[in-house]
Symmetry: C2
């Protein structure tokens, strides 16, 4: 059975509905992956996520490496057992986080040296050891180490980083092939190249042509305007092997997700739906609202009338506002359940629209109703 | 059907197993009531509480009055609907909280004037308006306004406060009798009298002899040593009408609960099980542990091997330690589920022991295994 299968392509866009046959069950695509950086999707239990229809979550090797440490997770019997999650886990290498540590990290061709934000101790990530560590903790989908660069770096810097990422990609595949692994342990390469089109093309063609199970697009959605994100995504996709699943790293707002799907993205993740929950924000069909606003004191409707999540079935905007104003933990819990459910539901509806051949009208309708 | 029925009395102590027939279902006693001060038991959902076997929770009028305000809860259709809780709710008047506001409150025979800790605005609680407000929000069991005094006040101050509490108790019954209420709205009087035995006796006999549905013991467990708490409890109980349910306000640790049950207490509440959860502490059969301690990094056992709660069925001490160290909300959530479940389970086992006639040996066994 092949890892990825496209079931239906949209006739008016690059959108597609597919199926990932992963070690721990099939995953319908497009799919949103909630971020569980430190082996927990913030403020929800695994049961909450199952009920929201979540089939795969993210972990972050860099964070797990620092706390609790790889050995703890390995001795626990792997990340799934450690965190009580039975479905799929994709782990990011944490390249993005390490490269954000400007001033306390140093890049060489061999890898990246950095200091722990916890105790200042020195550490070294290489393409090889991040693959090994992700295997040790039992990740289902491993991400390679890539060099993430800030927005709008110059040509030479961007070229250097893109080449290094390609070199590291080769090393990643080599080390994985030497390991004694379950064949269902998957590995994805990451396309970089900044915002420079011919470097994006170079990176896309090279990474996509290598023996990875999937392709990720990195280095976008890093602070630039949304139009530019989508333009670069659209441009990059042309050069990719479209038989492999395409993962866009770091997009999670409703409009961004719909645009990503339209451009052929199969998988995406973002901290946004969980982060805004802790700030009192919620997605609705009519746009994003903040529960602390005045109008909600006597509003006894659910966050979204069409939403069937635990929060919307049982709690009112008035109550959620009260919880948020009272700084109660339950506020973060209930808003997170809703926002994750909302996004997963939106992606499911997009998928159904693709399967039924009406994605374009679904997309237009959704955008029309959604006020930012 | 009478509100309270004693099913079985222990032969060797004052412990008893009973049944409260409340508006929203029967409540087996002894019963622990988790504290949901601001219309939420901190860090858990209603479903979590149902699963833990919780049949009644506490609310606090003082806090709800300040935020979100009585009118909001009334318009929501009452406190149960507002907070999505189908079972019983006992509301405390918040006397204890108001009287703790030294410097920003003023007591007269009519009531207590205080300033809001939120915006400094001035408010006045009277025996009458606290009953009315608890009725307006739909509380199942209403507590009267009482005057709580600090530990070790002198005789005259304590006498004055005890007399005022008696006077307020009369006013409370009078106003309730004039209101158009469901007859199943219950009201409890509160015994005060500090740590002075003849004032405790005066208060106990007077309050217990009035037409209340239950008797609460207030003003204990306010900082004094446990032996003194139990001595005063034991002394006070003698003067109470033992046909009424007895509620001890503010006890919630395992050993305290067992002692309270032994002395004839039917109901108790405390923030302790929920509060310690947010500080990384957990009850176990062998005593209280703090999950941040060194020994737990590689401890893949559940918090308590005999506990059947969601946390113990699914998560290890190692994982809980990781969550706590990472300051993850899930840490508070999972520890709260466990600690509430543990206490409710302990009370259930005490009840079964009373029914089976072996409470004394159950009590001794538990204390023997439990290291503070």
């Amino acid at each position: 059975m092949s890892f990825f299968k496209v079931l239906k392509k949209d006739s008016k866009s690059s959108a597609r509905a597919g199926l990932l046959t992963a070690r721990r069950g099939t995953i319908q695509t497009p799919v949103f992956m909630p971020v569980g950086t430190k082996a927990t999707v913030k403020a929800v239990t695994s049961d909450d996520l199952y009920k929201a229809g979540c089939s795969i979550i993210l972990g972050n090797l860099y964070h797990l490496y620092l706390q609790p440490g790889i050995e703890v997770i390995e001795k626990a019997g792997g990340i799934h057992k450690f965190m009580n999650w039975e479905r799929s886990i994709l782990t990011d290498s944490g390249g993005f986080q390490v490269f954000s540590l400007s001033g306390i990290r140093k890049i060489t061709d061999e890898g990246v040296e950095f200091r722990s934000i916890i105790d200042g101790s020195s550490h070294f990530f290489t393409p090889e050891n991040v693959v090994k560590m992700q295997c040790r903790i039992g990740s289902d989908i491993i991400m390679v180490l890539d060099e993430c660069i800030p927005f709008n770096e110059d040509y030479n810097y961007t070229l250097g980083a893109a080449k290094r990422t390609i070199d590291w990609a080769k090393k990643s595949l080599r080390i994985k092939s030497k390991m004694d692994l379950d064949k269902d342990t998957r590995i994805f390469g990451i396309v970089q190249g900044g915002f420079i089109k011919n470097l994006r093309k170079l990176s896309a063609e090279t990474i996509s042509g290598m023996d990875f199970d999937g392709t990720a697009i990195g280095g976008l959605s890093v602070g630039e305007k949304r139009d530019l994100t989508i333009e670069m995504l659209n441009y990059t996709v042309e050069f990719l092997n479209n038989k492999k699943p395409l993962y866009f790293m770091g997009i999670g707002d409703p409009l961004g997700i719909i645009e990503a799907i339209r451009n052929g993205v199969d998988m995406f993740d973002c901290v946004m739906p969980t982060r805004i929950s802790r700030n009192g924000s919620a997605f609705t069909e009519n746009g994003r609202i903040n529960i602390k606003n005045k109008g909600y004191t006597y509003d006894f409707d659910p966050l979204d009338r069409n939403c069937n999540c635990y929060t919307c079935r049982n709690y009112s905007r008035s109550y959620l506002k009260h919880l948020f104003k009272s700084k109660e933990i339950l506020s973060s819990m209930l808003l997170t359940i809703h926002n994750i459910s909302f996004i997963i539901n939106l992606v499911d509806r997009s998928r159904n629209a693709i399967l039924e051949g009406n994605f374009e009208s679904f997309r237009k309708n959704f955008i029309k109703g959604y006020n930012i």
